[in-house]
């Protein structure tokens, strides 16, 4: 099985050049390079766009400030300098890890964002987990025999759900579960509690108890991902079921359940994994809406709040934070492909 056609002039010898040693790190380095470029572009774009939106000095000084007070504030914050110089100063500070101070409260802007991040990660994580747990079996069931009447009915319902805007769903949830049934709170956030299960006198196991306040925001946010994910899993499963290897498995006597779970679904999930990555940005958009409706103190809520008050440093920090998050999730999805798809795993040899 030797093939001289594979011999290239600059073929690497194992254990030879620097590039061979760097080999496994190259994808990671490439991703990091891309992240830096992305963050640079997001920051630059946002800096100039926000300056178009309003004058930060006016925000700082308040409505009844005199021209002299405005001048003083401009001088204090460096706002009297040309825009490009301001930009260079800002970038210089960023490189030193200084993200500026919140104009509203004077706290460090990034610190403010980071304290609110866990609340968003909580509902985003719950929403994603819920979507994945529901979408995979549901999509597989739908895609296995898509022509059946019952599947068509369910597909139709999901299609309609996909068309309902997220805020409408959230309001309907509030109406049903908070107002009518009074099962769940309609707003606010608690971190849940930890109960201790005493096994003996001296030994007790901590059990985290989720708070009821998580349910509605997480469910509303899941609505942004669940229908599209289900539809993709269903479509991919249906497609996989038409592949030649399904015919081979059938000819080998495989029962229907094996065809679906062992042969079709793993192939179908490859496409679905890609969707989760790209939809995460969409989920962040959903978080803005959901957190505003449920008064959930996460970064989505903070984004609305700080944009309304033109709290530029906070908005900038938020943008950096969200861009990094979206990027990381996408990079992780890329990475997960290597586990899901053996064709990508063994590229090297």
């Amino acid at each position: 099985m030797s093939s001289t056609a594979e011999t290239a002039p600059q073929e690497n010898q194992p254990g030879g050049t620097l590039e061979t040693l760097m080999g496994p790190m190259v994808p990671v380095m490439q991703q990091l390079t891309r992240l830096v470029v992305l963050l640079f572009m997001v920051t630059t774009l946002l800096f100039f766009m926000l300056r178009l939106a309003g004058d930060p000095a006016l925000v700082l000084a308040g409505n009844d400030a005199t021209p002299e007070q405005l001048e003083a504030i401009r001088a204090q914050y460096g706002l009297d300098k040309p825009l490009f110089i301001q930009y260079l100063n800002y970038m210089g500070n960023l490189l030193q890890g200084d993200f500026g101070k919140s104009l509203a409260s004077g706290e460090p802007a990034m610190g403010k964002v980071l304290t609110m991040l866990p609340a968003t990660l909580l509902i985003a994580g719950l929403a994603m987990a819920f979507s994945i747990i529901v979408a995979i079996p549901l999509g597989a069931w739908l895609g296995f025999k898509p022509e059946r009447g019952d599947r068509r009915g369910v597909s139709g319902i999901i299609f309609v759900f996909q068309g309902v805007p997220g805020f409408v769903t959230a309001l309907i949830f509030i109406q049903i579960f908070a107002v009518n049934l009074r099962w769940l709170p309609s707003l606010g956030m608690e971190w849940g509690t930890i109960m201790y299960w005493a096994i003996t006198e001296s030994l007790s196991i901590p059990i985290p108890v989720p708070s009821k306040t998580w349910v509605l925001p997480a469910a509303s946010l899941a609505w942004f991902l669940l229908p599209s994910l289900t539809r993709v899993v269903a479509a991919n499963t249906a497609e996989a079921m038409r592949e030649d290897y399904i015919r081979t498995a059938r000819a080998g006597g495989a029962p229907a359940s094996t065809l679906l779970w062992r042969h079709a679904l793993p192939n179908a999930l490859l496409g679905a994994a890609a969707l989760i990555g790209t939809q995460f940005a969409f989920l962040m958009g959903g978080a803005v809406i959901t957190e505003t409706i449920f008064a959930w103190p996460g970064i989505g809520w903070l984004l609305i709040e700080s944009t309304q008050t033109l709290d530029f440093p906070v908005v900038q920090s938020l943008a950096l934070c969200i861009a990094t998050l979206v990027f990381t999730v996408n990079a992780l999805t890329d990475l997960s492909f290597q586990f899901l798809d053996p064709r990508l795993r063994t590229k090297g040899n």
């Binding site: 099985m1 093939s3 001289t4 056609a5 594979e6 011999t7 290239a8 002039p9 600059q10 073929e11 690497n12 590039e19 760097m22 190259v26 380095m29 490439q30 390079t33 592949e243 030649d244 290897y245 015919r247 081979t248 498995a249 059938r250 000819a251 080998g252 006597g253 495989a254 029962p255 229907a256 094996t258 062992r262 042969h263 793993p266 192939n267 490859l270 899901l340 798809d341 053996p342 064709r343 063994t346």
Partner: protein, 562 residues
Amino acid sequence: MVKPVVRVDDLRLEFLGQTGAFEALKGISLEIGEGEIVGVVGESGSGKSVTAMNLLQLLPRTKINVPTGTISVLDHDVRAMNEKQLQHIRGGEVSMIFQEPMTALNPVLRVKDQIDDVILRHKDVTPQEAEEMSLKLLADTKITDPRRVYESFPHELSGGMRQRAMIAMAFSCSPKLIVADEPTTALDVTVQAQILSLLKERAQKTGTSVLLITHDLAVVAQICDRVYVMYKGEFVEEGTTKDVIGNPQHVYTRALLNSLPEGKQPKSRLATVAAAMLEGGADNVIDEPIEQVTRVARTGDTILQIQGAVVRYPKEYNLFGRPITFHTAVDNVTLEIEEGETLALVGESGCGKTSLANAVVGLNKLADGAILFRGKNVLDHDPETRREIQIVFQDPQSSLDPRWPVWKIMTEPLTVGQSPSKAELRVKAASLCEMVGLEPSQIDRLPHEFSGGQRQRIAVGRALSVRPKLLVLDEPTSALDVSVQAQILNLLLDLQDQYGLTYLFISHDVAVVRHIADKVAVMYQSKVVEAGESEQVLTAPNHDYTRTLMNAVPSLKRAFAA
């Protein structure tokens, strides 16, 4: 008479569609004896795959209607069995081998899992025992390192290895019958030869009956005891392979044999099935050589010079996206083509012949060397030179824009740098249609309304629209049925004759090359290993690889000599 393993009686089968039923099988009867290798030969759409799939009831039962017929497989009335009972037989007593081993094996499961699954399903063994059995089966298919193949994913194996794994899987539960549906069609000839003899050897050793479905009479001749010839849902002829091929009775069988280039006078017109069926006799078809006009048209002037051409593709990239390692697809190839002649480039998949063809038409850059058309470098993108060289691709299914009408497809090259009126283009398209043997009235139709052969005529017409001197034909008949291949070969010879065209003909089919080419260049692992007059290269090859290739080609003549 040995007891038949399969007995099919007067089977009719219709596919139920939205527009009505389509009758795929029109009352076929088939018998396969114990240990017998039986071929079903026919062209695409003849119903041969339907026959195979239906033995194991693999067609969706809700989408077909079977008005009459019985199918008995190993004394089971399979039509009366439910899915659960069928699952017991499938892969156990009866197994199948499919055409394309790349798509027929699950890409995300190791060979190990795919074979073990079948064994564990049908036999009462532990996973360890199943593993031992699988390794033994793989070793039986003459794989030298069964352990590696066993642990591999399908994409890590070559086409031949995958098909061996498939054969191992098919033999895993000692079946009484194996149904092989075009098992070697997707493989290179040298691999095909190995797989066919392997299949035959394994079947004989285990006493398994084989039903072999193929479009290739030469494959049938090589391994089948008996053969059924299928045409439009019917068996038109059956008998021992020797009788059917040596002394065909039915018009269709004769036409099919006559449409094969093997054994025919080079550059003669080949018989075509349509003509034979129309005239009611294969004896009527024209079989005289064209006068050697094309020979005379060889002016001796060099039209194309390929000088030390090297084509490389990037393989791995560094941090900045710059390629650091390369795959050399064409390695220092030097060739010359004279005006009016046909140079055939022969070789197996991956040998670099298509990369070279693309370089000739300027679609690939050269890493080194030069390609000169009448002394001008083709990569200079001089419009005049570019017009003189045109290309026809392998698969007319994908090389024509499905949403463009024929007139627009055919005249597209004329709109490069010019803007003729629509009326002019339509007139031009109509005359091109006539040139390539299509109805000029069909110029408003879309590609899907044509058959494969007609689509390839459209592609030839498109290439001819700018009156080129050199036509690069990249496997122009490989995606076509043999009888359609004959039509296209006839057309190409006629066109060369009429317009003094020069052909660079890429093919893996030695019989076709022998028929059409003046000169042959054999490519192997990116290099040209042998080149010369076709007569000389193909009858007295010098290079080892050429000899291997020649011996591997399935041949009717050789099958009977043996």
